[in-house]
Amino acid sequence: MQQEPYHFFPSDAEKVFSQIDKGLLKEALGQMYLIRNFEQRGEAAYQQGKVGGFYHSYVGQEAIQTACLAACGDKHWFTTTYRCHALALLLGSTPNAMMAELYGRATGVAKGLGGSMHMYADRLLGGLAIVGGHIPIATGAAFSIKYLKQKGLASFCFLGDGASVQGAFHESLNLAALWNLPCIYVIENNQWGMGTAATRAVCVKPIAEHFAKAYGIKSYTLDGLDFFNCYAGFKEALHECLTTSRPILIEAVAERFRGHSISDPGLYRSKEALQETIKRDPILRLKAVLIEKGILTEEECEEIDREKREIVIAAMKFADESPWPDPITLEEGVFAPPEEKK
């Protein structure tokens, strides 16, 4: 394979810090705590038998999507993989409706029809669970933005390192570059495609820097553990996309803390390596900066964490007490009702 060093997006942490509204930073930390607590409790509920199917935790990658939303806003179209809980929360689906979806209840974000891998929000097209299969969908959302001449909007497509070698990804990059579609593809390189190391599956490293050249588009490599580097990189990438009407390819380098899914014991990486990874926790990094800068105290951070934990625990109660979908509705909603005549 072709291996070269990463060229990380150069950002001056001090400068980025000074440009971000301090309320926004507090909110971002809160969102990362919410995601972390949601995933931890979701896995606990799974172990209790409350949640079925698969469960893919976002723990360890929180800085990436949180920074993206903080930098770019939530008015765009978004599409992601089965590791979709964080993005749905960030895009405004409530912890109650999210947890209810995990529990398979009628009050879930998809009425209990989607489950862990198919979370939605008003601007989130999924939560799609065939590796790479969601990428043409995101490209189609970018097509709509262009067709409808909607200014200032882009389509964000999150994918994993594993999906970056799917044909659907490369067909999408060709189409988006060919037709100048405002699509921002974000490879979240969490180092593992299930149990196969990215370096054993993808012929190049860095991924985005290499592939972007082939499609004549711009790429960015971001430190996925560093909120500030992600924030600055996403902000510039969106600006670049909107001003040039060209798609963008981003690689955010991180490493997931958990197995591929809840049923993966992660035997392919050593305990020592995992401990090293966990030491680089993106939440601890952001928290340390906010404390150092006097934005928050240690106690206030703990209070935010506790508050989010309470919200998630309340969501579990809500889910547990929510009604199951009525079997009489089983065959409803396969087809959309006919559209009102324009």
């Binding site: 989607g114 999924g126 299969g133 969908i137 709509s144 659907a168 067909e171």
Partner: protein, 326 residues
Amino acid sequence: MGTQIIEIREALRQAMDEEMARDSRIFILGEEVAEYNGAYKVTKGMLAKWGPERVIDTPIAENGFAGLAIGAAQTGLRPIVEFMSWNFSFVAADQLISNACKAYYMSGGRFSVPVVFRGPNGAAAQVSCQHSHCVEAIYGNLPGFIVISPSNAYDAKGLLKSAIRAGNPVIFLENELDYGEKMEIPTEEYVVPIGQAKVVREGKHVTLISYCRMLKFCREAAEILSKKGISVEVIDLRTIKPLDIATVAASVRKTHRCVLVEEGHIFAGISAELGFQIQQHCFDDLDSPLIRVCQRETPMPYSKGLERETIPNTDRILAALTEVLK
């Protein structure tokens, strides 16, 4: 009311043209649909009329552009995707199977997928097995799809207009050999509702059911038998899914005998489903076991004589009718 005599390809073009005039969200994309005027000229002149924003040539990347159309449909547009052959839809199978027909239900009704996938289905003239497969049994097995396959210009136009307005993913199956078939149809606008089969020839001794190109052979067989005093009722399904079992059952209850004709393969085909539903609804009315005339269980052979042998034809339909009338 005015009439016009037009080919099926022109009927399809008129349907898309009229709907595009009605709704600016509708656009066409596919291989060679624009500058080439369509591989089979169904989109002839549409680029000149509607421009490159609404009539779009794609690269040869079915998985990419089919998925793009689904994503566009979910975010406010009304795409019409032309597959140059439905056999190429297999390259896009993941998009059709995992996204198009499932997104609405899976999202709890959040994101509908108003998209029409259309193009020629089944065999043409000696194009061999990778270009001849009939896809209706494959896509018909997937909840969430509407499956339509018209046999004439009137239905082709009226049903395509309904398909575009359906607000859901539609598999619209045409036939390459029949694009030039002419028919007198109204010049005024009309639609044909989805989900209604049609008795195209009334009869009392036996019911003969098919759709699309096979209808032609069914009509021929019925005509031949009528000269021998046997009256065959011929039904054109027009829409395969949802299946209009009511029209079929009413006929079988009258004739008590039935032959099912399908261009595609016999195992788990549309006629297998149709036959099952007939025995369910008409068990006490049947005087004879149902007979199917389908494509034999081989990939499509190239050689002319073998191809003719495997696709249902008038002789095979006549033999089946004779057998069921014994």
